[in-house]
């Protein structure tokens, strides 16, 4: 039997369950606030306020929207493939949420005499697991687009799939540079290896490549050709309304969170503070969240700034510029480390 991945540190089964529920709950409590944060910030970037009517500062806005989406009639086109049409958004959100388990929010902490790792699970395959999940999330997009039975959905899905595959390569290669510098695949191990210096400094090129590829990977502007509303109506989720649409929307935001967390862990030293400051352990998740907010703000800022790329530009940029750069960076890192 082929051995499965090693798990570096794990708690009793009940602690694993509690951690899973807490991580899931916290992330899904933050998600709606994130949507309203994006819209408000985007508004500010365009000299307007954004949603500010429902509740204080418009913070209840997502609640109103979720209620609206939830009570919508679940319709589907006559040409759609019913079973796949329903299961595709579920795949998208499931894979996005599964990747959350790997995010290290902090080191192993002593809470009420039991030692808890402030992460879902610390496996020895860290980034590979995340890439595997984003590889499966491709089926969420592809099936959703194909099962809709509409040409716009199908075109959007094809674009999304091609984009996901071509940028995942560069993204992965950028991370390999970090992995061979840290000599470990465990995400907590990578954070601990950054005690001397955050990898954003020695791996700056990899960081930039990773960020650009991540924008494409999360289907965010300027690489949001998947949902290019001017030409494709809404991309692969054109035919989705109500809860299916919400699932795709949330999957996109969870992907954004995962990528922000991955960038934080891989390049910005996770829960470590600069200049040798060692705060108490309970601050760790706050530090990670703050660093993630920087990336999420960057995502929104870029969305407000850059226009959408043309499809051939996107592809040639991914394969002709980003991939050689990532490979070059990997080669140089490998030579220096070895």
């Amino acid at each position: 039997m082929i051995g499965l991945a090693d798990v570096n540190y794990f708690e009793p089964w009940w602690a694993q369950l509690v951690k899973a529920v807490v991580i899931f709950g916290v992330v899904f409590a933050v998600l709606p606030i994130l949507t309203v944060y994006e819209r408000k910030l985007l508004g500010r970037f365009q000299n307007r306020y954004g949603p500010n009517r429902v509740g204080p500062f418009g913070l209840i806005q997502p609640l109103a929207e979720i209620v609206k989406f939830a009570v919508k009639e679940p319709f589907r086109p006559t040409t759609s493939v019913g079973f796949l049409f329903r299961i595709a958004p579920a795949i998208a959100i499931l894979t996005a949420v599964s990747a959350l388990a790997l995010i290290p929010w902090g080191n192993v902490q002593d809470i009420f005499g039991t030692r808890f790792g402030l992460y879902g699970i610390d496996v020895s395959v860290g980034p590979l697991y995340v890439f595997a999940m984003s590889g499966i999330s491709f089926y969420g997009i592809m099936l959703g687009g194909w099962a809709s039975g509409s040409k716009y959905s199908f075109l959007g899905a094809m674009r999304g799939a091609a984009q996901l595959i071509s940028y995942e390569v560069s993204q992965g290669l950028a991370l390999v540079g970090v992995v061979i510098t840290a000599q470990t695949l465990s995400l907590t191990g990578i954070v601990n290896a950054q005690r001397g210096m955050w990898y954003v400094v020695p791996q700056l090129a990899a960081f930039l490549i990773f960020m650009v590829a991540s924008f494409a990977e999360a289907n965010r502007a300027p690489f949001d050709l998947v949902e290019a509303d001017a030409e494709l109506v809404g991309g692969y989720f054109t035919e989705y309304g109500g809860t299916g649409f919400v699932a795709y929307l949330f999957a996109e935001y969870v992907n954004m969170i995962v990528i922000a967390a991955l960038a934080t862990t891989m390049f910005l030293g996770g829960w470590l503070m600069p200049f040798g400051i060692h705060p108490p352990g309970w601050v760790d998740p706050i530090i990670v969240a703050a660093k993630m907010m920087i990336f999420i703000t960057l995502f929104i800022w870029i969305r407000a700034t850059l226009p959408r790329l043309r499809y051939d530009q996107l592809m040639s940029f991914g394969w002709k510029i980003l991939l050689p750069l990532a490979t070059l960076n990997l080669l140089i890192t490998a030579i220096i480390v070895a």
Binding site: R44, F45, N47, R48, I321
Partner: protein, 177 residues
């Protein structure tokens, strides 16, 4: 000497500069420049006017809802029911029915007065011709522009409604603005 067009042709480069350095600048330098531009919009702050709470001040000559006037000293109506405003109205939204003033009931300063004076606001185009036509300045255009209502009949303003002091809901622009 024959005309040689090639001498007048100027070479125009219609593509960004080639090369790795130019490309890297395009990707990151220009992006940073764009991000600076968008950040400047954040610093500027929103220019939105939060309408129901915050209202755009109108200019003094703004043509809003009509007002009918009385003489301030005697309290008599300025309107003498001559129907010139109704004649001038291109939208035909004013209806005037005149009646004679009697010594017992004196409504206006002239011989006659408007027994019925109605303006159909759903037809009015706010051109201000009625104001121009009026020989006694009895009707003027006010500043009120919030005229929506639930039924069409509610938009027919009677003489009492036009004579009453309007609830000043619209701020007026100060000379500096």
């Amino acid at each position: 000497m024959p005309y040689d067009p090639s001498a007048d042709v100027i070479e125009v480069v219609r593509q960004p500069r080639r090369g790795p350095a130019a490309g890297a600048y395009r990707i990151f330098g220009e992006t940073l420049r764009g991000m600076k531009t968008t950040l400047a919009r954040v610093v500027e702050g929103p220019t939105t006017i939060q309408y129901p709470e915050e209202k755009t001040p109108v200019y003094p000559r703004f043509r809003g809802r009509h007002k009918l006037h009385r003489f301030e000293d005697t309290g008599l109506e300025k309107c003498v029911g001559c129907s010139l405003c109704a004649a001038a109205c291109p939208a035909d939204c004013i209806r005037v029915v005149a009646a004679e003033n009697t010594p017992e009931t004196r409504v206006s300063a002239g011989e006659r007065y408007a027994a019925v004076y109605e303006i159909n606001m759903s037809r009015c185009i706010f051109c201000g011709y009625c104001e121009v036509a009026c020989p006694f300045d009895a009707i003027t255009m006010g500043h009120d522009y919030e005229l929506s209502d639930y039924t069409r009949s509610d938009l027919i303003f009677t003489k009492e409604m036009l004579l009453a002091e309007p609830i000043e809901r619209t701020p007026l622009r100060t000379p500096g603005e």
